[in-house]
């Protein structure tokens, strides 16, 4: 992963290789250690973390309140420490309600709550999504299969500075009938970005 072929851009890959050569030569870190860290991050930091936060909020009004007030602290309560390349990066949760739907984008680059949810899907970084979801959110959401009533207020969050955004979907009806694992499965990565909502009907 770290050494060969991780980057599609050949020039960037050459730079990474050169940096790794220097880091190894100077005893800073080995390639194997870099690979280990990437693997550990990929295993530990996934959208499942966000699902755990949402399901907890569905069951605990107190946790929901803490999540909406300080999402970083609420994530840490469940062991999802977050952080990132800068200590200025903070997590903020926005809640869907019967009249409000939230969706997240970064129009300037691809800011995403990576430290809490893992890497974003490729489409999140595409120019098509980034340029269109701010000016026609309903049209883009419909293409994802989410058709919202005319009366629903759509709130788009363009992560342009230090805050990273996480959508807290509404608790679906019939949740009680599901096991905890099934409840977690409902809260997909797309629900946390806001291009989908938890759908019980989708269960087989």
């Amino acid at each position: 992963m770290s050494g060969a072929g991780h980057h599609r851009n050949a020039e960037l890959q050459a730079r990474v290789n050169r940096l790794l050569d220097l880091a190894e030569a100077r005893g800073v870190i080995t390639r194997a250690e870099v690979d280990q860290r990437i693997e550990a991050f990929g295993d530990r930091v996934t959208a499942r973390n966000g699902a755990e936060m949402v399901v907890r909020a569905w069951h605990s009004p107190e946790y929901r309140e803490r999540l909406l007030a300080d999402a970083g602290a609420a994530a840490a309560e469940l062991g999802h420490a977050g952080g990132g390349y800068s200590s200025d990066i903070g997590l903020h949760a926005v809640a869907n309600t019967p009249g409000v739907h939230n969706v997240v984008v970064c129009t300037l680059c691809s800011c995403y709550p990576l430290a809490w949810l893992g890497p974003p899907p490729p489409w999140y970084k595409s120019e098509a999504y980034r340029s269109r979801v701010v000016r026609d959110p309903r049209g883009v959401l419909a293409e994802f299969g989410l058709v919202l009533p005319e009366s629903t207020e759509v709130r788009v969050w363009d992560a342009s500075a230090e805050a990273r955004y996480l959508v807290v979907p509404e608790r679906p009806d019939g949740l009680e009938a599901l096991t905890e694992a099934e409840q977690l499965d409902l809260v997909t990565r797309d629900c946390l970005i806001g291009v989908a909502v938890p759908a019980l009907a989708a269960r087989v």
Binding site: L108, V134, A159, A161
Partner: protein, 99 residues
């Protein structure tokens, strides 16, 4: 700056790095959250950690303010902006006169 304030994003086109998305420049919105402070990106792109720190606020723009009649009246776009990107709605850094 406080929640509820109406602000306009400065009309500007600086040569270096800047994190006020072009589609909100010149437009008026409402402050809905005080985010805290961060390194001012226009400077940190050049001098890194030596850049000054500045307050960031979340500004909500009504979709029709940004897109005219093509914006849905119920929709809002929220953008986190460093306060030096903002001015009073009456100031008009672009020399315009409309409110």
């Amino acid at each position: 700056m406080k929640v509820g304030d109406r602000v306009r994003v400065r009309t500007m086109n600086p040569p270096g790095h800047n994190r006020a998305p072009r589609y909100v420049r010149g437009h008026v919105g409402e402050v809905v959250r005080l985010v805290g402070d961060g390194r001012f990106p226009d400077e940190s792109a050049v001098v890194g950690d030596a850049a000054r720190r500045e307050e960031i606020v979340t500004v909500a723009f009504a979709a029709p303010e940004l897109w005219g009649p093509d914006g849905h009246p119920a929709d809002r776009v929220h953008v986190d902006l460093f306060v030096s990107y903002l001015e009073q709605p009456g100031e008009r850094s672009d020399g315009g006169t409309t409110p």
